[in-house]
Symmetry: C2
Subunit: 160 residues, 2 copies
């Protein structure tokens, strides 16, 4: 898939998120970039602020989880795989407060591999992959990180 | 603190959350109960739904994190401790989808101890405590769980 097509696919996913997940719509989520390997989504601070004036932890985690989910969803759509994608487990570290608009960047974990993921999905109709996300902070350090396992399960047509 | 006072303190905290965290307001968070040991907050499904018609993972995690944060905040307020409370790290497990309104119940972890927490806070001005939360699911099993570490830091008056 070439670059404009990747971008269009990611824009379509963001529109799908806005339509299907009202809270993500309220968060004001938008696409920053997608190159087939990394997905970056962003949010303005205003709807995601907490009582201290920085970004609400729930918003940071929601954005990182959605970005990870989106990365898996886009990889599946590019191969015309019709799956439901669920987050199974995640570990979040909140490292420093975020005082402005923020982004989350997702990529597959070092020990994860799309080829193995698609081979398992092909043979079992179900596969899992680990994704890492971060919210970039100041001086090149992350403000928050997330490691999550996502499960993709092929949708099956009704038996009747 | 007697039972009506505990309830009033928790109601005041929920009002504070609604005022300070617009996303929590949108989630429709409300108090279910607080007995000094356990805090239970709830959300309606409608504003927290995802594209599959069940509760958005970001909403489950946000509610569990807020409930854990609220538990620590209430324990501090009962002792007239003026602190900022931050979530430092959390592990979330999404075990089964949630198809209706949902609750999160928070209590301190088995290996955590309020006495030790307050003693450390008293000597160092800063202390951490582990909290566990769950969203109850069907047949007595949790639909989601969260283990989180919260850090309380005493506010200090400006030096000048």
């Amino acid at each position: 898939m070439n670059k404009p097509d990747l971008h269009a696919a990611a824009e379509a996913l963001v529109a799908f998120i806005h339509e299907g997940i009202p809270l993500a719509h309220t968060m004001g989520l938008s696409l920053r970039r997608y190159d087939g390997e990394r997905l970056v989504l962003r949010c303005p601070l205003a709807p995601n602020v907490n009582d201290k004036g920085c970004a609400f932890g729930g918003s940071l985690t929601s954005l990182m989880t959605l970005t990870g989910w989106g990365l898996v969803e886009l990889a599946l759509r590019q191969r015309a795989e019709d799956c439901d994608v669920y987050v199974g487990e995640s570990t979040v570290r909140y490292l420093s407060p975020v005082w402005g608009d923020f982004e989350a960047e997702a990529q597959h974990a070092d020990d994860a591999d799309w080829d193995a993921f698609f081979a398992t999905l092909s043979s079992r109709g179900r596969a899992r992959i680990s994704v890492i996300c971060q919210v970039p902070g100041e001086n090149g350090n992350p403000a928050a990180t997330l490691e999550a396992k996502f499960v993709a399960k092929r949708r099956v047509a009704a038996a009747e």
